[in-house]
C-alpha cells in the first residue's frame, strides 16, 4: 500500500456517555478506495462522523497525512481537504442547486469553477440550477452532493450509503465517478450496508460489527462473510 493518508488508531467514541465505537483502527492510503461494510447500527456512520469531526473521540487518535486531527472542528477539517457526504442528506433541501454549489466554495473553490465541474459532469443539474434541492429526485440529490466532492479537490472523500434508495443503474454510475476520483489520488472511504454495489471499485474492504472492525481483506472474500453476518451473526 502506498503512503497512508487517513488513519484511525484505536478510536473509542460515542454519544453522551454511551460508547458506540470500541477501539476502531483503520488506514486508507493515497488513491485507495476502502469499503466499510456491515449491518445497520454497527457504527459505520459514527466512524465517518468521528473522522469528519462531528463526533468527538473519547480515546485513541485520528491522523490525516500523519498529523493528529483529533479535536479539530468539522468546518476546519473540511477546509483542509476532507470532503464528507453524510447519509441521505448531502444537500441543503431548502437551497437551490446553485446555492448548494455556492456552499462548496467555503473550501476556497471559486463558484464559477464549481458550477462548471458540476454541470459538465451532471448536465441534468444545469437545467435545474434554480430548483430547490429538496424537490429533486434522490439520484439528482446525490449527483449534487457528489459535485462538491468533484469540484473542491479534497484529499479524502467520505461517502455514507451513497446507494440508499437509488436505482442500481444510478448507483453504478455514481461509483464509476468515485473510482475516477480515486484515480486522481484521492483517498476514499465508502460506507455501505450491502457489499454488491461497491465491490467493483473497492481496493480493500473492512467489516464492522457492533462498533468493532472484525475483518479486513479483499472485497470478494469479505462479501461472503458479510452475508453470514446478516443471516446468522450477532446484530
Amino acid at each position: 500500500m502506498s503512503e497512508t493518508v487517513l488513519e484511525l488508531l484505536d478510536v473509542r467514541a460515542g454519544y453522551g456517555t454511551i460508547e458506540v465505537l470500541h477501539g476502531v483502527s483503520l488506514a486508507v492510503g493515497r488513491g485507495e478506495v476502502l469499503a466499510l461494510l456491515g449491518p445497520n447500527g454497527g457504527g459505520k456512520s459514527t466512524t465517518l462522523k468521528v473522522i469528519s469531526g462531528l463526533v468527538d473521540i473519547m480515546s485513541g487518535d485520528v491522523h490525516l497525512a500523519s498529523r493528529s486531527v483529533a479535536g479539530v472542528s468539522a468546518d476546519k477539517l473540511a477546509r483542509l481537504g476532507l470532503c464528507s457526504i453524510p447519509e441521505g442528506k448531502g444537500v441543503f433541501p431548502n437551497l437551490t442547486v446553485r446555492e448548494n454549489l455556492m456552499m462548496a466554495t467555503h473550501t476556497g473553490a471559486k463558484l464559477g469553477d464549481v458550477e462548471e465541474v458540476a454541470y459538465t459532469r451532471f448536465p441534468r443539474l444545469s437545467d435545474r440550477r434554480s430548483q430547490l434541492a429538496g424537490t429533486m429526485s434522490g439520484g439528482e440529490q446525490q449527483m449534487l452532493a457528489m459535485s462538491r466532492a468533484l469540484a473542491t479537490n479534497p484529499a479524502v472523500l467520505l461517502l455514507d450509503e451513497l446507494s440508499m434508495g437509488l436505482a442500481p443503474l444510478v448507483v453504478a454510475r455514481l461509483y464509476e465517478i468515485v473510482a475516477q476520483v480515486a484515480e486522481t489520488g484521492v483517498s476514499v472511504l465508502v460506507v455501505e450496508q450491502f457489499a454488491q454495489s461497491v465491490l467493483g471499485i473497492a481496493d480493500r474492504a473492512a467489516i464492522m460489527l457492533s462498533g468493532r472492525i472484525t475483518r479486513v481483506g479483499a472485497p470478494a472474500e469479505l462479501a461472503e462473510e458479510l452475508s453470514s453476518a446478516y443471516l446468522g451473526g450477532k446484530g
Binding site: L54, D75, S84, L95
Partner: protein, 756 residues
C-alpha cells in the same frame, strides 16, 4: 371613508417600523435558534445612545444615525453572541429562554445606571426633521414616518439581496437547513451566528431610534415594551419568514390605528381605554394559537445538560423542619429592617415555588407569575371587603385566600387550555402576552365593573384607587400582623408547600408529569392523557402562585397597580428561579432570598460602607452599589449557560461531603447554635454572627473534605457505578421491567407476556 384611508396610511407607517424591529428578531432566531427577548433592550440602549450623540452632544443626524445603527448596535449584537449566546448550545429551551431575559434585564439595568441614575432630567428625542409633515387625506404624516416607511422598504430589499444573492446570506439559510452539513462544507457557523446577531441588533437599533419619539421622554422599560409590540409580527412569520413578518407587522400597525379611529383615540369606551396597549399582546396570543401546529414544533427531545435529583420524603420533611427552625432562630437576632428584607425574599421564594412544579418538573412555562398575584389580590379583596369599597376587614380571611386560589387556578386552567399544544418558547410568549393583556385590561382598570346577573346588581372592584391594601392574616388565634410573625408564617407555608410539591413529584402523578416533560409524544403513545395532565399542573401551580402572590402583597401591605405587573417582574422572577435551580424546592428558596439580597440588601450594604468611608463613596455607592442593584441579577442569569442546573445543585454538591462525616457535621451545627445563643444574649454582634456562620458554610465542607479524604475516594467510585440505571442498555428488556414501567407511569396493566 377618507378617515379610513387616512388611518390606513398611518397604520402602514407604524407597521413599517414594527416590520424593521420584528425582522431583526427573525434574522437572529432563524440562524441561532435563540429568541432574543433582549431585542427590545438592544433597541432601547441604541435609542439612548442615539439621543446622547444627537441631542446631548449635538452631532449631525446622519453621523449619529450611522454610529448608532452601523457601529454601536451591531457591536452590541456581536458581543452578545460571542460572550453569551454561544454558550447556550445544548441547553434546554428554558435556559435558552431565560438567558436572553437576563441579557434584557442587564442591558436595561446598565441603561438605567448610565442615563437615569441621578437627576430626573427628561431625555427628549425629536423626530427626524422635527414636526415637518405632509398632509395625506387630511392627516398629518410626519417626514419621520415617511422615512420609516422608506427605510423598511430599503431593508426588505437589502435583506432579500443578502439572503438570496450573497454567499453570507445563503450560508445563513444553509445554517437553518442543516448546521452540521454546513460544517462539512467548510462553512463557519460561528461567523454566521455573529453576522446574524450583528444584523439583528442593527435592525433593533434602527427600530429603537424610529420608535423612541413616540414616548415624548425616553424611559428605559417603556421603550423596551414599545419594541415588544413588534414581537407578534415575528411570530406571525413563524420566526422564519421575512415576508410574513412584514404582513404581520402591517396587521399590527393597522389594528392599532383602526382602534384609534373607531374609539376616537380611546375616548369612546372608558373601560376599554387601555385596549390599544393590549392589541399587540392580543395579536401575539392569537397568532400563537392560530398558526398551524406543525409549524410551531418548538420542542425537540434532545439530551440537555440539565440534571435534577429528587429528594426522598424523609429528606424533604427534615429540611423543611430545619428551614423553619433556622428561620426562627435567625429572625430572633435580626434587626427590624433585616427582617423586612428577609420577609420580602421569602415571599418571592413562595412565588418561585409555583414555578418548580410547573417548569422544573413539568417543563411548562409561565412568564406571568405576578399576574396571578394581581388576580389573587383582586379576588381576595373582593371577598374580604366586598362591593362597598370600604376596608372593614382588618385581617385576611381564610375564605379570601381560598377564593383567590380557586380563581387563580381557574385562570391558570384558562390559559393552559388554549395553550395546550404550545411548548417551550411559544408557551412562554403566550403566557407573557396573557400577562400583558391582564395588566392592561384588568389591573390598570380603575373603573369598577358592574354586572347584571339574574336581575341582581353585582360590582367587581379592580384596583379602584390605583392600589389595594391587603391586610395580614389572623389565623389559629395568632395575629400575623407583626413582621416577625408574618415572616414565620410564610416560612412555614413555604416548608409545607415545598414538602407537598416534593410529595407530588414522588407520586405516580409526578412521574407522569416528568415523563410529559421529557417526551410528550412518547407519553401520548403510551396512552397518557396529556390534556388532563397539563391542565392539572397549570391549575395547581397557579393556585400556589395565587397563594404566594397574596402573601407577597400582604408582606407589602399596600400594592400599587403599576410597577410589578408590566411583565418584567415576572420575567425577573422566572429567570432567578432558573438560576436558583428550577428543579429544586431549595432552588426556589434560594431564588427569592437571592433576589431580595441582590436588589435590596447589597445596595444597602454598599450605602452603609459609602457613608462609613466617605472617601470611597464613589467606589461603594456609585460603582458597586449601583452595579449590584441594576446589573447584578442579570449577570447571574447570563452565567446560566455554564451551569444550567442552577445554584441549588452547586450548593448540594458542595455539601455532599457532610453526609460522609456526620460527627463533624453535628459538631459544626452545634457550634453555630452556640454562637447563635451567644448572639441572642448579646455577647456576640449580629455582624460577627453572620460573618462566621456564612463563612463557615463555605469553609467547613472543604475542611471536612480534606480530613476525610479516603472516605470520598470510595464514594466517587460508588457514584461512578450508579451513574446510569437505564433499563435495556446493559441487559435485555424483560417483561418484569415493563411492569415496573407501567406501574411507574400509572398505566393500566397491559396483556401479560408481551415483549420478551
Amino acid at each position: 371613508m377618507q378617515d379610513f384611508l387616512a388611518y390606513t396610511v398611518l397604520g402602514l407607517c407604524l407597521g413599517s417600523v414594527y416590520a424593521i424591529a420584528a425582522t431583526g428578531l427573525v434574522v437572529t432566531y432563524s440562524t441561532s435558534g435563540v429568541f432574543n427577548i433582549a431585542h427590545g433592550a438592544v433597541a432601547t440602549m441604541s435609542a439612548l445612545f442615539y439621543w446622547q450623540l444627537r441631542f446631548d452632544w449635538h452631532a449631525p443626524a446622519p453621523i449619529a444615525i450611522f454610529l448608532t445603527v452601523c457601529v454601536f448596535a451591531p457591536l452590541l449584537g456581536l458581543v452578545l453572541e460571542v460572550v453569551v449566546m454561544r454558550g447556550l448550545r445544548g441547553t434546554s429551551e428554558v435556559t435558552r429562554l431565560v438567558t436572553p431575559v437576563a441579557v434584557l434585564l442587564g442591558i436595561n439595568g446598565a441603561a438605567t445606571w448610565i442615563w437615569f441614575r441621578s437627576s430626573n432630567r427628561a431625555l427628549v428625542p425629536k423626530k427626524f426633521f422635527g414636526e415637518s409633515n405632509v398632509k395625506v387625506l387630511g392627516q398629518a404624516v410626519y417626514y419621520h414616518q415617511i422615512i420609516g416607511v422608506l427605510l423598511s422598504i430599503v431593508i426588505a430589499g437589502a435583506l432579500y439581496v443578502l439572503l438570496y444573492r450573497t454567499r453570507l446570506g445563503v450560508t445563513m439559510r444553509a445554517t437553518v437547513d442543516d448546521r452540521s452539513l454546513l460544517m462539512l462544507n467548510g462553512g463557519r457557523p460561528d461567523r454566521v451566528s455573529m453576522a446574524s446577531w450583528a444584523i439583528g441588533a442593527s435592525l433593533a437599533g434602527l427600530a429603537g431610534v424610529l420608535l423612541s419619539p413616540q414616548l415624548g421622554a425616553l424611559q428605559v422599560f417603556a421603550l423596551t415594551l414599545l419594541v415588544f409590540d413588534a414581537y407578534p409580527a415575528a411570530v406571525a412569520g413563524r420566526l422564519r419568514s421575512v415576508p410574513l413578518t412584514y404582513v404581520g407587522a402591517m396587521v399590527l400597525g393597522l389594528s392599532k390605528l383602526y382602534f384609534d379611529w373607531i374609539s376616537d383615540a380611546g375616548q369612546r369606551w372608558l373601560v376599554l381605554r387601555n385596549l390599544r396597549n393590549a392589541i399587540p399582546a392580543l395579536l401575539l396570543f392569537g397568532a400563537l394559537l392560530l398558526l398551524p401546529q406543525d409549524r410551531l414544533r418548538g420542542a425537540i427531545v434532545t439530551r440537555t445538560r440539565e440534571r435534577f435529583r429528587v429528594p426522598t420524603m424523609r429528606e424533604a420533611v427534615l429540611w423543611g423542619g430545619v428551614l423553619v427552625a433556622a428561620m426562627a432562630m435567625l429572625q430572633s437576632i435580626m434587626s427590624g429592617s433585616a427582617v423586612i428584607s428577609l420577609a420580602n425574599g421569602v415571599a418571592l421564594s413562595l412565588m418561585a415555588l409555583s414555578l418548580v412544579l410547573l417548569t422544573g418538573y413539568a417543563g411548562e412555562i409561565n412568564l406571568a407569575v405576578f399576574t396571578f398575584a394581581g388576580v389573587a389580590v383582586i379576588a381576595a379583596w373582593q371577598f374580604d371587603v366586598g362591593p362597598t369599597g370600604l376596608a372593614t376587614q382588618k385581617s385576611l380571611s381564610v375564605g379570601a385566600v381560598l377564593l383567590a386560589m380557586c380563581v387563580c387556578s381557574l385562570v391558570g386552567g384558562l390559559i393552559a387550555l388554549p395553550a395546550l399544544r404550545l411548548r417551550g418558547l411559544y408557551l412562554g410568549l403566550a403566557t407573557f402576552a396573557f400577562g400583558i393583556i391582564v395588566y392592561q385590561l384588568v389591573i390598570l382598570q380603575t373603573q369598577p365593573l358592574h354586572f347584571n346577573i339574574f336581575g341582581g346588581k353585582f360590582t367587581v372592584n379592580l384596583f379602584t384607587n390605583g392600589s389595594l391594601t391587603v391586610p395580614r392574616p389572623h389565623w389559629f388565634g395568632i395575629n400575623f400582623a407583626g413582621q416577625r410573625a408574618f415572616l414565620m408564617l410564610m416560612t412555614v407555608l413555604f416548608a409545607v408547600l415545598g414538602i407537598g410539591i416534593i410529595a407530588i413529584r414522588r407520586s405516580a402523578y409526578g412521574r407522569m408529569i416528568v415523563a410529559m416533560k421529557d417526551s410528550p409524544a412518547a407519553c401520548a403513545t403510551l396512552g397518557l392523557n396529556l390534556t388532563r395532565l397539563k391542565l392539572g399542573v397549570f391549575m395547581v401551580s397557579s393556585a400556589i402562585a395565587g397563594l404566594a402572590g397574596l402573601m407577597w402583597a400582604a408582606e407589602r401591605r399596600t400594592l400599587p397597580n403599576n410597577a410589578d405587573f408590566d411583565g418584567f417582574q415576572s420575567l425577573l422572577l422566572f429567570m432567578i428561579a432558573v438560576v436558583g435551580g428550577i428543579g429544586y424546592v431549595s432552588g426556589a428558596f434560594i431564588a427569592g432570598i437571592f433576589l431580595s439580597v441582590l436588589s435590596v440588601v447589597m445596595p444597602d450594604v454598599f450605602d452603609k460602607l459609602g457613608s462609613d468611608y466617605p472617601s470611597l463613596h464613589w467606589l461603594f455607592v456609585t460603582v458597586l452599589g449601583n452595579f449590584s442593584h441594576y446589573v447584578g441579577p442579570a449577570l447571574v442569569g447570563i452565567g446560566l449557560g455554564k451551569n444550567p442546573s442552577g445554584i441549588a445543585q452547586q450548593i448540594m454538591d458542595g455539601f455532599r461531603p457532610l453526609k460522609k462525616a456526620p460527627g463533624a457535621t453535628a459538631i459544626w451545627v452545634a457550634a453555630i447554635v452556640v454562637l447563635w445563643a451567644a448572639t441572642w444574649r448579646g455577647a456576640v454582634s449580629n455582624w460577627h454572627f453572620s460573618l462566621i456562620s456564612v463563612g463557615s458554610l463555605f469553609i467547613v465542607p472543604r475542611i471536612i473534605m480534606s480530613v476525610f479524604e479516603d472516605r470520598f475516594a470510595e464514594e466517587e467510585r460508588a457514584v461512578a457505578g450508579e451513574d446510569l440505571d437505564l433499563i435495556g442498555i446493559d441487559r435485555a428488556f424483560r417483561s418484569s421491567d415493563r411492569q415496573v414501567l407501567d406501574t411507574a407511569l400509572g398505566l393500566p396493566a397491559g396483556p401479560s407476556g408481551g415483549v420478551e
